[in-house]
Symmetry: D2
Subunit: 330 residues, 4 copies
């Protein structure tokens, strides 16, 4: 979740805000925000948030999960094709091919160039904690005014410069339900997550990386792209109150296909409540627009839904996020 707008000045939400009944009032949302809020938990200067849950012991345990030696990408190929869910496609151009460097002797080189927004529904990316503000505040009570046109003064993506390593746990909801994918607008509850844990024989715990599959990308592969924003069909995701469970369980990171949020939102006046809670309140590592279609095949073959995960965002000073290629290792 991230790009709210379609073109210059034309806001998706404005344009077509769906009028689904609000299941949670603004007041109830604020209460929930307070319940899961980690501000001050790791001191007033903390910028790592829920990443603090990952201790050296968790990393060691993650390393011990490597048995078969298979690795698999959780990233969508970077998408340069404009479409209803990709209004700001990446551009990739060749800078040089092997055609003219012969004059210079050997060898010859080819080079390319890429330009992209660091967020977007068609680009697997990780968010920095400065990405989302709620009522004027970022995580740990930093003011949103700390982000100017030159970028954030703290909590940029270099907070994660040395990588994020831990145990990934996949909860595969379409597998649980015996379907191909969840439909846009469907929200997954705590009960369903617990049922998935049971079915897979795993339990999300402290310092874990929660890998959450709705089948969003499979739907896209089979049916083609759709407008998954507020003025379109939306997307499947979590119920907002699932964040309480993730808070109790001390989950460190959340990797969904889609972006984790149910669109349209079921909260009065808050567009992306899951993002808001996980980033602004909890300081949780947030990524979105991943894909697990290769992962699920490996999980089925390996008969396990836990694995080592390594996240290595680009080391981009001032970055509000980063394209990246999350890797699961079995």
């Amino acid at each position: 979740m991230n790009r709210q707008y379609y073109g210059s000045g034309e806001y998706r939400m404005k344009a077509g805000m769906k009028t689904k009944p609000a299941h949670m009032s603004a007041h109830e949302f604020d209460e929930l925000f307070q319940k899961v809020c980690n501000w001050g938990r790791w001191g007033p200067n903390d910028e790592r948030g829920a990443l603090n849950y990952i201790t050296p012991a968790h990393v060691r345990a993650a390393g011990a999960l490597v048995h078969s030696g298979r690795s698999v990408s959780l990233s969508i190929p970077i998408n340069t094709v404009a479409g209803p869910d990709n209004p700001h496609p990446a551009v990739r151009y060749m800078v040089q091919t092997h055609d003219i460097t012969y004059d210079l002797g050997e060898p010859t080189f080819c080079l390319d160039y890429i330009a992209c927004e660091c967020h977007g529904d068609c680009h697997t990316h990780i968010d920095a904690l400065c990405h989302i503000g709620y009522k004027g505040k970022l995580y740990n009570a930093r003011p949103v005014s700390s982000v100017t046109s030159h970028g954030p003064t703290s909590m940029d993506i270099t907070t994660y410069a040395h990588g994020i390593v831990g145990r990934g746990v996949l909860l595969d909801i379409p597998r649980l339900r015996g379907i191909k994918w969840l439909e846009p607008g469907e929200a997954v509850t705590r009960e369903e997550l617990e049922a998935a844990e049971k079915a897979e024989g795993v339990r999300l715990g402290e310092g874990d990386i929660f890998v959450f599959r709705t089948g969003h990308h499979r739907r896209r592969l089979e049916l083609g792209p759709w407008n998954n924003g507020y003025d379109g069909e939306g997307k499947a995701g979590l119920h907002s109150n699932v964040m309480l469970m993730l808070h109790e369980r001390k989950v460190a990171a959340f990797l969904p296909d889609g972006d984790g949020d149910t669109v349209p939102s079921n909260v009065e006046g808050v567009a992306y409540p899951v993002h808001t809670l996980q980033i602004a309140a909890m300081g949780m590592v947030a990524a979105d627009s991943l894909q697990f279609e290769e992962l699920v095949r490996v999980c089925e073959e390996e008969k396990r839904w836990e694995f080592m995960v390594v996240l290595a965002p680009l080391r981009l000073p001032g970055g509000t996020g980063s394209l990246f290629n999350p890797i699961a290792i079995f």
Copy 2:
């Protein structure tokens, strides 16, 4: 190593080709090329090259190296400042900050944008095997004409889409010599690498990821940037015939600071002989412009020079390389 030119049409090499005595004749180089050539070794359709040396057992062994749970980046922060070694700086702009999204209600978002060449002496990156051609051929005898203005038809960076995981072994030459860094133009020999192995108690072997430190980045941090190309002061790197050793040892990947090559080249008529051999002949995973200043501190504290390495290039179809953030895990 990669960007040969400085500006449009003005070639660095052309401009100032240094006239160091050629220690290796063109004929001798071709013989060396044949000796280390892996064309056909893994079949005519192979696109993975020396990455084939990394077996599941190597990955499992790499996972078993995780003890202390520390992870460290081997990447330079992405550099947006033009300079003598950065003629094509990355650009990063804010797309949106928290200042105007209030009209849309909560939450607010900030976003940014990045544009960059996928190679360059100031951007830690990995090369695809299509990146370098020698005498009209890429690795595994593919013609260079398979790379057009739309990009490569094979051996692009998505060959490595599922990540590269293995054992990293750091050979730290300044440590061996008791100095801060090697000076531009200095070439490291097989004998010196073997002495470093002995000093550190490690041995580069089959399927390993060779991490090679000349102190290039430390020199830059302390003395500032310099022109490290053929029309400038150059850079420290390997002697070309070290590639024979890496071939015998069946090394899978090579991660240098600098770019691995000694500049100027000691080979008659071949500008980047190490790159040429490792990529075009051997099909070895090649990265360049890493930094190990944080890594060496961890190695000294941990008293070990081997560690798990995870490389996760962006999943960019057609990419001739990728910015990335290589992670070492102890």
Copy 3:
């Protein structure tokens, strides 16, 4: 006309080549190509093509057309919104606003950044003569191989560096027909152009800048964007054999809304016959994707369909074209 592809490697023409009856055989087209061919007309080294028709006397005459002192843009606002006719939207980002420069004292600055392909159906632009090749040749028999991954070695957009100034003549076909716009696929004939000349009291002559209105942009403003390529609905334009008339009349430049070509093409095996003839054969100044909705109001008020035109492409070495803002002065 210009962007033939939709995304990376997926060609529009391939995807959905319409099967309209071919009105002109490949052989007939080649005969037409020969009839309008200006290769060698201004010497073997000429790079200006039909621009040679504009003499100082024509420029002086154009200056003399300035009476009322009104000027009007013929450019579409640069379009950053992806859509069926804009798969590669321009990007524009703020680099700096006035929010953080206060520390430096006065004054404060705001800056922005733009990135765009130099062609495209939603970006008013001019083509360089290197833009189009036919059977391996550019205008004046230059080989297409003179354009490499570094750009063209001749006939780039800097050929027009000092601007193009002349008399513009608008032939407004919807006005002639008494309709709002031509429908996609409709082709305008010589007879119809001559009828428009008569209706407006003008005559296209030597050195003139032909401004050709189909109402393409008005249709877009009223009905919204559509896919105007070969796999879509197409667009209105000229009949290929109108180029004979433009050749006889010694027209110097052609400024259409749409891109001048009728899509789908009525020529067997040639996708954009008008572009091919005007650029590769005739060396005519070619621009496309202009809009005349403001111009027509001024023409009606001024009761004249001729005016001074000034074209000032960016001075971009190696450019195959340029975004620009053509100005008509009355």
Copy 4:
């Protein structure tokens, strides 16, 4: 004038603010600001500022200046080479060449891509009136907060969408002095401008476009680039109090080589006083980084220093400026 910074967060001015004696106090500057201030002159909603001085009669008179039919560019070729005065070089890449479109039949296309900041000392550009704020205000008392991360809400570059047409008058100071160029830091006074008027037989008047030559670009061509910012050698320009003369004369637009300002500034605490006065106070059309080396040859041959000028900025909604190619017509 425009790019104040060198790299991300490192400000040139901060780094090396020169300590030349302040010839004008902050108070005196504010008085000067008031004297030349046009706020409210054309009503509270005016966004055109001094451009209002150009009436239809001026445009007609400009057309009447076209005699010999020669046109000449006042633009530097767009510069893709990083250097001390070009820390953010433009990038230009080929998107497609003629190499692979053969599969699709005829014709073949080549395309390119450009990305650039809209300001910068090596890119001939025009500023929008929103570009500069003084004490929190833009021209006509608009608050600087009207420019957010999404761009300006008024006075963007589309204010000039229909082009700027008028009489250009070149005052060539090196010609007056009989030298090749002014040295960095030299400031030109009213007396010297009036002497140049006399020498050339022209007089700057109401609605004129003032073309001001210091020889900045000739110096660059002959001596190479230098750091012309506040932490470098600086540049030649106008004395701040010349703006009183331009105000009295009702000049509409100002086109300098360099950027018009003398660097370092001779005003206490104000970095670019000429820019500040012309844009924020007077609402004058401001461009910078032009070159007149071709123009002066034509002026000498034509024996006149007045000519028609056409300025056609890109029609970029939200643009704070635009690369452009100003054209003089004789």
